[in-house]
């Protein structure tokens, strides 16, 4: 179980290699990468500013990760979330789960992402041609929690 909140970029391949190095008991690894899209609806996005609540962010992510590990048989899990100004195309978040079974790896990664979206204290501001705009929370993200 690893949680990192950082400004700098991450390397998905290296992170997964580090999780699996020296072991041969893992059957399935899921990675989810979230990236800054260059459009929000029909408006271009040049940069996304990620603000967060240092201290609470780490706690919230650790709680979500611990809950995933309690619900599923995981052999490894990782959450990396970036903050600061991120240009279009940049990595925002990486979630990795490893399990003997593919279903557990899929479900736990989806669970972590669903809770991270509306339970971790991050706020996104998109800046494009018309200036900056805080991204509204979506009802569908809150609804996504109900399935778990």
């Amino acid at each position: 179980m690893v949680v990192r909140v950082q400004a700098k970029d991450f390397d998905l391949g290296k992170e997964i290699s580090a999780l699996t190095a020296g072991r041969s008991d893992i059957g399935a690894i899921i990675s989810f990468s979230g990236l800054v899209r260059d459009m929000a609806g029909d408006q271009p996005v040049f940069v996304m500013e990620l603000e967060h609540y240092p201290g609470m962010t780490e706690k919230a992510l650790e709680k979500i990760e611990a809950e995933a590990n309690a619900r599923w048989e995981l052999q490894a899990s990782l959450i990396i979330h970036r903050y600061g100004p991120l240009p279009a195309g940049a990595n925002i978040v990486l979630v990795v789960t490893a399990s003997p079974h593919r279903q557990a790896a899929f479900e736990s990664a989806e669970f972590i992402m669903d809770f991270l979206k509306s339970r971790a204290p991050f706020w996104k501001k998109e800046t494009g041609e018309t200036g900056g705009k805080w991204v509204d929370a979506r009802d569908t993200d809150e609804d996504a929690l109900n399935k778990w």
């Binding site: 609540y53 609470m56 204290p121 991050f122």
Partner: protein, 81 residues
């Protein structure tokens, strides 16, 4: 206690955090006090349905008590991931 503001609440109030001396019993009481201070607070807290609160870094609702609390944070619904 330390009071923190994030995202558009921070922008509207104009500061990321401040030390507040208060005898407010609950979060709602604290919000009522802050609203009376200045227009920018009244504006930031005009629609509490759009504001979330954490007390000592745990999400709570408006009637949460403030006794013994060191840190209160106000922010919009979260949009991580």
């Amino acid at each position: 206690m330390q009071v923190l503001y994030f995202a558009w609440l921070r922008e509207r109030i104009g500061i990321p955090k401040e030390q507040v001396e208060t005898s407010a019993a609950t979060v709602a009481d604290l919000v009522a006090e802050l609203r009376l201070r200045e227009e920018r607070y009244a504006l930031a807290f005009s629609d509490m349905a759009a504001v979330k609160v954490a007390v000592d870094q745990e999400i709570v609702d408006l009637n949460a008590p403030l006794a013994g609390v060191r840190e209160v944070a106000f922010f919009p619904p979260m949009t991580g991931g």
